[in-house]
C-alpha cells in the first residue's frame, strides 16, 4: 500500500509515494534520482548506502521510509561541495584515497559524525569507529591517513 512521504534531503523537500516498508535508499536513488548513496549489500553489512538522518549515520538500505519521518537526511553530496568541502572530503582528495570509490559514502559519512563528536581521536578510536565498514579495493591504509588528516583539520 503506497503512502505519501515528504523527505527532506540535503535541505530540499521531496514528495515520494511509496510503500512504507521500502528502504530509504530506493527513494533516494530511484524516486528522487540521486547518484548517491550506493547499494552494496542491502543488509547493513558494508556501509555503501550510508546517509545522515538528523546527524546520525544510518544504513539507508535497511531503513524503511516509515522510520524516516520528517528527519533531515544528508547525503555525501550534501556534506560538502568543491567550493565548501567537508574536511574529510578535502582529506580524501589530498590523500587520493579511493580506488573504485563505490564505498566512499560509508567511510566519509560515518567518520564525519564520529569526528564531529570526538575531537583528537587516537588511531585505535578511529579504527574502532569505522569497524565493519567495507572497502574491497583495500584502501584501508589511505582511509586511515585521510581520517587522521581530517581529524587534525577539525582540531
Amino acid at each position: 500500500m503506497n503512502q505519501k512521504f515528504s523527505l527532506n534531503v540535503n535541505g530540499t523537500v521531496h514528495s515520494v509515494e511509496a510503500d512504507a516498508d521500502m528502504p530509504l535508499l530506493y527513494a533516494l536513488c530511484d524516486d528522487i534520482g540521486l547518484n548517491n548513496p550506493h547499494f552494496g549489500c542491502g543488509l547493513a553489512q558494508c556501509g555503501a548506502c550510508t546517509v545522515h538522518l538528523d546527524g546520525q549515520p544510518i544504513r539507508s538500505c535497511i531503513t524503511p521510509l516509515s522510520a524516516v519521518g520528517d528527519g533531515k537526511i544528508v547525503t555525501l553530496a550534501g556534506l560538502g561541495t568543491p567550493e565548501k568541502p567537508h574536511p574529510l572530503q578535502t582529506a580524501y582528495v589530498e590523500e587520493q584515497v579511493p580506488q573504485c570509490g563505490y564505498c566512499i559514502n560509508g567511510w566519509i559519512m560515518t567518520a564525519a559524525a564520529f569526528l564531529r563528536d570526538k575531537k583528537k581521536p587516537t588511531e585505535t578510536e578511529i579504527k574502532s569507529a569505522l569497524e565493519g565498514l567495507k572497502c574491497r579495493c583495500g584502501t584501508h591504509v589511505a582511509i586511515l591517513r585521510a581520517v587522521k588528516r581530517a581529524a587534525a583539520m577539525m582540531g
Binding site: N35, G40, L43, Q45, P82, Q96, K134, T139
Partner: protein, 761 residues
C-alpha cells in the same frame, strides 16, 4: 577541464567541438592550401574507427586540447593519469591539456580492456607511439606552413615554433584543431592486449622525459568524493525499468513451473522466463526486488551437484586431469636427479575458491532501439562485451555500443559481464531499457570464482645441501572455465541458462621466478568444473589470476627448503636466483626492512604472543616484486595481525610513482585479506558464502600499521605491469612469517583464527 570524464558526456562534447570547428572551416580550411601534401593528413570526416588510423587514438580539439581514445579502462589505480602523462610527453603539451577517454566502443578500438596488468605495458605503449606519430605529423604540417625544415622546429605546450625564433610559430589548434588526423599506422593486425600500431615516429628518449615520472594526482577522486560522478549503477534513461535475476537454491536446477499470479499484486511486475533464464522487471526498483523475492518457482528435481566442502581438496587430488602442461620445457632430467638425491623435501599446499566479492554486485543498463543496442557497464572489457551482446541479440557489432562506466569495483572477470548480458536479454524481452543490478547474495554467490587448487613441490638435495632438482605441479580448476570476458554467450550466465552449447577452457600457470636449478620442471594440470552449466563455482580470472595460489605454494616451499637446511631465507634464495633485477628487489626489500640474517624459525620467543618475519618474491610478465611480512600472532586466539609489509617493486620505467604506491598498498591489503580470511563456502547444493558475514574480508581494525614501498626505476626498460604483480607473493610472505614466529608451517589458505589455532595445536 577534468581529466577523467564519463565517456557518454565526453563523446558528445568531443563531437560537438569537432563538429563546431568543422562548420567554421568547411570549404575554407583556415591556413591551409589544399594543394599541400600535408592536407592528406587531415580529414573533415572521421576516418574509420580501425586500429590502423591515428584518429582512432588521438584527436586535437578546436581549442588545442587533446583527446586520447583508449581501448582499455582504469579500475581505480589511476591508469588514465599515466596514459595522459605518456600522451602529453610525446606531444609536448601540458598534462592538463590531455583528456583520456576510456572504454567507449564508439570512439576507441579494442585494446583488450583492463587485463593482465597491461594498461601501460601494452596499452600505454600503443598510446605512446600514436602520440609520437601525431607530433611528427603536426611538426611536418608546421614545417610546410612556416616554410622551415622540421629539424629546425621545436614544440612547446602545443605550439610549434622555430627553434631559433619563437615568433615563427603555429599551434596544434591552428594546424588541425577540430578536424581529424588522416594518417595510416602500421598495425600488426591484432586486437586486444597485443594490438600494436606504430607510425613512422620514434618515441622520445626516456632521458628527455619531463612529464613521465611525475607523481601527478588522479582527477577522478574529487568528483567521486563530492558525489558528482556517476557509476554504472547511477545511469538512468527515459522509459527504463528495473530488472532482477532469480537464481536457483540448488545449483544446476532449472525452473519447471513459474506462478506469475504470485506477483500479480506488484504493480508493473513482469516475468521473463526462457529455459533456465529467469528474471523479473518492474517500473520501480523496489517492486522488481519484491517480485524477485516473492515469485513462486518450482525447480527441476536435480541432484545436488557439489561434493561436501571438506572433500574439495581430495576431489582435486583424485579427479582425472583434463589437460597437463609443462612450462617451459623441463630443464635437465628431474626424475633422474631425484633418484640420486641424498635428501628429498616435499610439501603440498591448498588454496580455496575465492570470490571477487566486488563492493557492490554488478549492474548494467541496456537500451535497444531501432535495431541498435546501447549498454552501460562497469565491465573490464567493453569491446568484448559488445561482441557478446551482438551475438546474443543477433545484431551486427557495429549496431552495439558499449559505454564503460565505472562500476562497484572490479578485480578480474567478476559479475559485470554477466549483468550486461542479462540486461540485454531482459531488454529485448520486454521492449524497454532495462537496468539490472544483482543482489548481494548473487554478487558473492554467483560471480565467477578464482579457482581452488593444490600444489605439490619437491626438491632433491645432494649430500652437501645443494638443490639438484626441483619439481612443482599445480592441479586445479581452470582459470578459464569461463573465459576472461563476455564476448561469447557460452561464457555468460545468460547464455548458459538459455542453453547454448558449452565450451569450457583449460588454463593455469607456473611459478614465475629465476631459480636456476640444474634440473627443474614446473607444470600444471586442470580438472573439469564441478558443474558444467550455470555454476556458482565456475572459475575465471580473479586479480593476478592464479598468481597468489601458485606463489603461495612455490615461495612457501623455498622457505621450507631453506629452513630444512638451517639457512637464512634470503641467503638461500640468493644462492639460486639468477636474474639481476630479481636479486636487486630481494636485496632492496631486505635493506628497507632491516632484515637480520638468521635461519627460521625464531628460537628466542615464548608465551602466547609471538612475532615473525617472512620473505617472498616473484616475477610477473617482466615486473619483479619482493616483499617482507612482519606478523604478530596470538597463539591462544589464532589471530594473526600483519603489522608491517615492506615491498620492493621493479616494473621498468615508472610513469607515475604515486600511482604505483597506491596500487601496491591496495594489493597488499587485499592480499592479506585473501590470505587470512577469504574462502568461498559451499555445501552440496550451492555456494553458501553470500554476503560479508559469510565471506569476510580484512576489517579496518586489522589494517597493517605500515606498508613501505621501495620503487626501483629503470627508465631505459619499457614499463611492465604494476596492477597485479604485488598481489602474488603476499600469502607466502605471511606464511613464512608465521613459520618464523611459531615453527609451524601452514599450507592451506585461509589463515583464519580457527584454522591457525588448529594448526598450532
Amino acid at each position: 577541464m577534468t581529466k577523467f570524464e564519463k565517456s557518454a558526456n565526453f563523446s558528445r562534447r568531443a563531437l560537438l567541438k569537432a563538429g563546431g570547428a568543422l562548420v567554421v572551416s568547411f570549404g575554407a580550411p583556415i591556413g591551409f592550401d589544399s594543394a599541400r601534401a600535408d592536407e592528406a593528413m587531415i580529414a573533415a570526416a572521421k576516418p574509420p574507427l580501425t586500429p590502423d588510423q591515428l584518429s582512432s587514438y588521438i584527436a586535437v580539439n578546436a581549442d588545442g586540447t587533446i583527446a586520447a581514445f583508449f581501448g582499455k579502462m582504469d579500475m581505480g589505480q589511476g591508469l588514465f593519469v599515466a596514459v595522459g602523462q605518456i600522451v602529453a610527453e610525446e606531444l609536448d603539451v601540458p598534462f592538463g591539456a590531455v583528456t583520456v577517454i576510456m572504454g567507449d566502443t564508439a570512439n576507441s578500438v579494442n585494446q583488450g580492456g583492463a587485463s593482465g596488468s597491461t594498461g601501460l605495458q601494452e596499452g600505454g605503449k600503443q598510446m605512446r607511439v600514436a602520440a609520437a606519430e601525431a607530433r611528427r605529423v603536426l611538426v611536418q604540417m608546421a614545417a610546410d606552413k612556416l616554410g622551415l625544415p622540421a629539424e629546425q622546429l621545436t614544440v612547446t605546450d602545443g605550439v610549434v615554433h622555430a627553434t631559433a625564433d619563437a615568433n615563427k610559430k603555429v599551434s596544434y589548434a591552428e594546424l588541425i584543431g577540430g578536424r581529424f588526423f588522416n594518417v595510416h599506422l602500421d598495425w600488426n593486425g591484432k586486437y586486444g592486449n597485443p594490438l600494436y600500431a606504430p607510425g613512422q615516429a620514434k618515441p622520445k628518449d626516456p632521458k628527455t622525459h619531463k612529464i613521465v615520472g611525475l607523481p601527478i594526482k588522479r582527477q577522478d577522486i574529487a568528483p567521486k568524493v563530492f558525489a558528482q560522478q556517476d557509476f554504472c549503477t547511477d545511469i538512468k534513461v527515459p522509459g527504463m525499468v528495473h530488472g532482477r535475476m532469480i537464481r536457483p537454491d540448488i545449483a544446476g536446477t532449472v525452473p519447471v513451473k513459474v506462478d506469475e499470479t504470485s506477483i500479480k499484486h506488484i504493480p508493473t511486475a513482469k516475468v521473463v522466463w526462457n529455459n533456465g533464464f529467469l528474471g523479473v522487471v518492474a517500473d520501480k526498483e523496489w517492486d522488481a526486488i519484491q517480485a524477485a523475492q516473492l515469485l513462486k518457482v518450482e525447480w527441476s528435481n536435480t541432484a545436488p551437484p557439489f561434493p561436501a566442502q571438506a572433500a574439495l581438496y581430495d576431489h582435486i587430488r583424485k579427479e582425472p586431469s583434463r589437460k597437463r602442461q609443462v612450462e617451459p620445457a623441463e630443464t635437465g632430467n628431474v626424475d633422474d636427479a631425484f633418484k640420486s638425491a641424498a635428501r628429498v623435501i616435499e610439501a603440498e599446499y591448498e588454496w580455496p575458491f575465492q570470490s571477487h566479492a566486488s563492493m557492490g554486485p554488478a549492474c548494467s543498463l541496456v537500451e535497444i532501439k531501432d535495431g541498435h543496442a546501447t549498454c552501460w557497464s562497469g565491465t573490464q572489457k567493453s569491446h568484448f562485451v559488445r561482441s557478446g551482446l551482438a551475438a546474443m541479440l543477433q545484431m551486427p557489432e557495429d549496431n552495439v555500443h558499449v559505454i564503460w562506466t565505472p562500476g562497484p569495483g572490479s578485480y578480474g572477470r567478476n559479475d559485470a559481464d554477466d549483468a550486461a548480458m542479462d540486461a540485454a536479454v531482459l531488454a529485448k524481452a520486454v521492449g524497454k531499457p532495462v537496468r539490472v543490478q544483482y543482489m548481494r547474495n548473487q554478487g558473492t554467490g554467483w560471480d565467477p570464482k578464482g579457482p581452488a587448487s593444490i600444489h605439490k613441490a619437491r626438491a632433491a638435495l645432494d649430500a652437501a645441501g645443494n638443490v639438484i632438482a626441483y619439481d612443482f605441479l599445480s592441479k586445479a580448476f581452470s582459470r578459464v572455465d569461463v573465459d576472461t570476458n563476455g564476448s561469447k554467450p557460452y561464457d555468460t550466465l545468460a547464455g548458459q541458462t538459455l542453453g547454448v552449447d558449452l565450451k569450457s577452457g583449460d588454463g593455469f600457470g607456473i611459478p614465475a621466478e629465476s631459480y636456476a636449478f640444474a634440473n627443474k620442471r614446473t607444470a600444471w594440470e586442470v580438472i573439469p568444473p564441478l558443474l558444467d552449466r550455470a555454476s556458482p563455482l565456475r572459475t575465471s580470472h580473479l586479480r593476478d589470476p592464479v598468481g597468489p595460489q601458485i606463489h603461495f605454494a612455490s615461495e612457501s616451499f623455498m622457505d621450507e627448503v631453506a629452513a630444512a637446511l638451517n639457512v637464512d631465507a634470503i641467503e638461500f634464495r640468493l644462492r639460486y636466483v639468477k636474474d639481476p633485477r630479481d636479486v636487486a628487489v630481494i636485496k632492496a626489500a631486505a635493506e628497507k626492512a632491516g632484515w637480520q640474517t638468521r635461519p627460521s624459525p625464531r628460537k628466542d620467543q615464548s608465551g602466547e604472543k609471538v612475532s615473525g618475519r617472512g620473505i617472498a618474491y616473484a616475477q610477473r610478465n617482466g615486473t619483479r616484486v619482493a616483499m617482507i611480512a612482519e606478523v604478530d600472532i596470538d597463539r591462544t586466539s589464532g589471530k594473526i595481525w600483519v603489522r608491517k609489509f615492506t615491498v620492493a617493486h621493479d616494473c621498468g620505467q615508472i610513469i607515475n610513482p604515486d600511482g604505483i604506491r597506491m596500487t601496491v598498498e591496495g594489493n597488499i591489503v587485499q592480499g592479506i585479506s585473501r590470505t587470512l580470511w577469504e574462502e568461498v563456502k559451499f555445501d552440496t547444493k550451492a555456494v553458501t558464502s553470500v554476503d560479508w558475514l559469510t565471506y569476510p574480508i580484512l576489517d579496518i581494525t586489522e589494517t597493517p600499521d605500515q606498508i613501505d614501498v621501495v620503487l626501483i626505476n629503470h627508465p631505459e626498460i619499457a614499463s611492465s605491469g604494476a596492477g597485479e604483480p604485488s598481489s602474488r607473493p603476499i600469502a607466502a610472505a605471511i606464511a613464512n612469517a608465521v613459520f618464523d614466529a611459531t615453527g609451524v608451517r601452514i599450507r592451506r589458505v585461509p589463515f583464519s583464527p580457527d584454522n591457525v589455532k588448529s594448526a598450532l595445536s
